[in-house]
């Protein structure tokens, strides 16, 4: 069980009454321990990594590589398979570009498959791959608010070279059976890519049980600072990839005309990365593990159940999230027949209830559901039922104003 009162003390932005941060799915709050770790780096170990021989540089390198080990342990993978990126967007762009350029696909097996519920950061790089190479991009539709697995069986064939599906939806909160998709993909010899961003920090993410070949996420949705994330790629695939971003640190030799790459994973980390962010991500993992993912999950499930029950009581509100709380990473999105999400969010903001309105960077999902946008309340370990009560009071207020 989570002691909410004490947990909330760890998050400085929650200092004070009457503030209800329900936007974890856009960006989670950062605990003081993560901020302290970053400040400590800037205060005592401020140096570049992998280069200097002085004390602070050695320290910084140890902290940075220590953070890589924490990410690797968290995902149950080898340390050298973890690449630090600025977030899921950079990871996705890099990965897809590298696969496009490095993995030789035959004429018979070159098609791409994704799902209609993906985040723009996943779907657009695939669209660009498809345009550039003139290969088809097939899209797995939804059935209700989940994936249509039967259609996936039909869409993924021996012609499929790559399948990319998200672990959990950042709009509905629904957890996809990625293993099922991965098994189909592998049966046909395709590479399986997973966007784990919305799931990280909410459910255990073990790449082996997911059965994927590559996976990426952003730190800032799992209590870490902004501007840091990671890409994991299975070593056998990673070996085949030529870097797509070039610069310092990623080389073993450079002459006037050609260059040779550094070892793995250095060759995929050109330039000076977000050192303090990486160290902060490590501290966020420490914090999550201290509280326990299972405890967070139980707590958030309780909040989702309560939110669905209370919001459903309001006339004119339709919830589009997964009602099966065991299959929801803490997101309740809804539309209101009395007002547009932008107006709802404006009224809620007056009452210091922080939610997100719009398409949540998932326009194809909204189009598939036949709605233009939604209001999204998303929860994390620091939220309580009081936050949901405040949301409901504000929603009722909005209903009076716009009806």
């Amino acid at each position: 069980m989570i002691d909410s009162k004490n947990i909330r003390k760890d998050f400085p932005q929650l200092d004070g009454e009457g503030y209800h941060y329900l936007d974890a799915a856009a960006s989670s709050l950062t605990p003081q321990s993560v901020l302290d770790t970053e400040i400590d780096y800037y205060t005592h170990s401020r140096a570049n990594v992998h280069r200097g021989l002085f004390h602070e540089a050695v320290n910084a390198t140890e902290l940075y590589e220590g953070a890589r080990r924490k990410v690797a342990n968290f995902l149950h993978v080898s340390t050298e398979e973890v690449i630090f990126t600025s977030g899921a967007t950079e990871a996705s762009n890099m990965l897809i570009r590298m696969i496009e350029e490095s993995v030789t696909h035959t004429e018979e097996q070159k098609e791409l498959v994704t799902s209609v519920m993906e985040h723009h950061a996943s779907i657009i790089p695939l669209q660009q791959f498809s345009f550039r190479k003139g290969v088809p991009l097939h899209v797995i539709p939804m059935r209700g608010v989940g994936l249509d697995y039967e259609k996936a069986e039909e869409i993924i064939t021996d012609k499929t070279a790559l399948v990319s599906v998200m672990l959990a939806s950042n709009v509905t909160g629904g957890i996809n059976d990625v293993r099922r998709i991965a098994d189909i993909a592998h049966r046909h010899g395709a590479i399986m890519v997973v966007d784990a961003t919305a799931a990280m920090g909410h459910i255990p993410v073990d790449v082996e049980s997911l059965g994927c070949d590559a996976l990426y996420f952003s730190g800032h949705k799992m209590l870490a600072p902004t501007g840091i994330g990671a890409l994991w790629v299975k070593y056998e695939l990673l070996e085949k990839l030529t870097p797509s971003i070039f610069g310092g640190h990623m080389i073993s030799h450079v002459d006037e005309q050609t260059s040779a790459w550094a070892s793995i994973p250095s060759r995929f980390e050109a330039g000076t990365k977000n050192i303090s962010g990486a160290i902060g991500l490590g501290a966020a993992i420490d914090y999550l593990e201290k509280v326990g993912i299972e405890n967070i999950r139980t707590h958030v499930e309780g909040l989702v159940a309560y939110a669905i029950a209370e919001i459903s009581k309001i006339d004119g509100v339709k919830i589009v999230s997964d009602h099966n709380i065991a299959n929801n990473v803490g997101i309740v999105s809804f539309s209101c027949d009395f007002a547009h999400p932008h107006d709802i969010a404006e009224i809620l903001a007056r009452d210091r209830v922080a939610v997100r309105q719009g398409h949540h960077c998932a326009i194809p999902l909204h189009t598939a559901l036949g709605i233009s946008s939604t209001t999204r309340a998303s929860f994390h370990l620091y939220n309580t039922k009081v936050d949901i009560d405040a949301l409901v009071v504000s929603l009722k207020k909005a209903r009076v104003i716009f009806t």
Partner: protein
């Protein structure tokens, strides 16, 4: 009274003027505010240089939709030149309140769509 959702704004939102598809229009122009999903279609009917009739269809937030209602009221009977000369400030005057930076795009959607309908851009 809410500082943003003033009575006249809500009145235009709940009971919009000039809303609906127009028969025999001369120009149809679609406007979009992708960040929040506002959607607007303007229909214009010209008599020489004068905007004889104007209507809109669409869905979106109270700010964008009330703006379309108020603006279509204002521009009916104006000349192309007069409409082209309308500024953002004129639009804000229709609202009669301070529009925050976050809602600027909503507030200016109707005017920018109208201007591009005239310029053809």
């Amino acid at each position: 009274m809410d500082p943003l959702y003033q009575e006249h704004i809500l009145e235009h939102y709940k009971h919009p003027h000039n809303k609906g598809l127009m028969d025999g229009y001369d120009v149809k122009k679609k406007g979009e505010n992708i960040s929040c999903g506002d959607d607007l279609i303007l229909y214009l009917k010209w008599k020489n240089d004068v905007l004889e009739d104007v209507s809109f269809e669409g869905f979106g937030c109270a700010i964008s939709q009330s703006g379309a209602s108020m603006l279509t009221d204002k521009v009916k009977g104006m000349t192309k030149g007069e409409i082209s000369a309308l500024t953002n400030k004129d639009m804000y005057e229709l609202y009669g309140i301070q529009i925050s930076a976050q809602r600027e795009k909503c507030a200016l959607l109707a005017l920018s769509t109208l201007h591009s309908a005239i310029s053809g851009k």
